[in-house]
Subunit: 251 residues, 2 copies
Amino acid sequence: MSRTAPTAALTESNSDSRKTSQNDHIYEEMLAAILEQRLTPGTKLSEDTLGEIFGVSRTVIRTVLQRLAHERIVRIQPNRGAFVSEPSPEEAREVLQARRLIEEGIIRAAVCNQSPADIKGLKRAVAEERLSLETGDHEAWGRLSGDFHLKLAEIARNQTLSAFLRELVSRTSLIIVQYQKGALSPCSCDEHAEIIKAIAARDEDRAIELMNAHLRACEDQLNLRENDTKADLYSIFSKPVKATGKSRGAM
Amino acid sequence: MSRTAPTAALTESNSDSRKTSQNDHIYEEMLAAILEQRLTPGTKLSEDTLGEIFGVSRTVIRTVLQRLAHERIVRIQPNRGAFVSEPSPEEAREVLQARRLIEEGIIRAAVCNQSPADIKGLKRAVAEERLSLETGDHEAWGRLSGDFHLKLAEIARNQTLSAFLRELVSRTSLIIVQYQKGALSPCSCDEHAEIIKAIAARDEDRAIELMNAHLRACEDQLNLRENDTKADLYSIFSKPVKATGKSRGAM
DNA sequence: TTTATTATTTTTGTATACAATAATATCTTA
DNA sequence: TAAGATATTATTGTATACAAAAATAATAAA
């Protein structure tokens, strides 16, 4: 297949055919698929198949997979291929701990740098979020819920921190897919709204506290016991352990 | 060139020829070259040339360059190629701000998680650092100075944060190459030693304060005025600006 | 039937070929 | 000579070919 005549992608309209952003386009497409849970943890990402789907050779698919792997959304096993990441409970705790730290820093900066337009933007984001929840657009909600945090990061005017948070938010999505206990609690919008209020009021301490509570609430909704399949089988069929045995691991 | 008969690399002994880590090996080699200032900011990284040097095809060089690009050590310009990054003053401030935030979090965790062995390890790291300074091994010092921070991160037992800091430390090296004003101040060892003491004493607040001072001192040794060549030419040949004019940019 | 071994197929890793773009050199014209 | 236009060369982007490894299927032995 020549560079000038790309076959049409099977899944995608591909409105603007700038070839510079061909990588980017496939990357966005795959990331969206993962974040919207159309691709679930553990799914094999065959290079050939993806190449056919997007109408490109394995070369460019490989580039995209490596990028996703660097962001820990995808795990590449040597000579075995790429798979949608299955974050361990340990990793889940790490990601949420990192988010608490980084989002605290972001709030500090955002409280200083905020403009009225910024606050308006945040409120708009929460309104969208609330709408998606009312209309029952579940996939959109997952995305928009993260977008609020990314918008907040933009206000902090530190692209380096924004990039880190972007990765963490994506990984959080995967974590939620894997470990969410019950249904999603829709109170998230209200918590976001409260955080905006505190920032607008320049109440740094309160904003930080609200954010921390928000993220801890998220973690509390997860079932992060060490339930590796293997370990489970062993524990199930071996002599019973003490009721208090299962260590929750130090955070 | 077949997979079974890799031509010997021109620069490298390549003692263990596990092919799994061929990428990794080239990556490490290039990273070291950049951090030890054998490759300076702006240097063009030609795929062909690197391929010849390491005795591999452009395919694997490309993979390595993309990895370095993701870590912001290398910048890839579409259709132009890869170059060693030239971080802007803005980016330099961002990186150091991010480091202050993340290393504060790391210290908090390290103060909790520390074992006597950890403290011993840190002290050993500083001793090595001091030795390299005394023997005048400048390149080693640059590396070891960063290693202290990475060892500290390990004690925090959060690989996600460690990975972020690893990237930031690498980028800091590039920043120092570009913007260091005078000679390097060798007091860094002493500052590291003080930080260890505070951590061992479980004095979280003092450890954090020392780390912040340490990182701010680093930033203060940089000349981060907006001296883009272009902007400079304009300002040099246009009517003189007020003496106080040059904004230092808000942190 | 089950297990172990071998053969086949599939899939990844790497090199290479070719196309497209950028960089450089050559030629033309004022 | 200088400036612009054109041709040439070099370099990156992508597809493809082939080798190595892994996964799967088929066969043989217990």
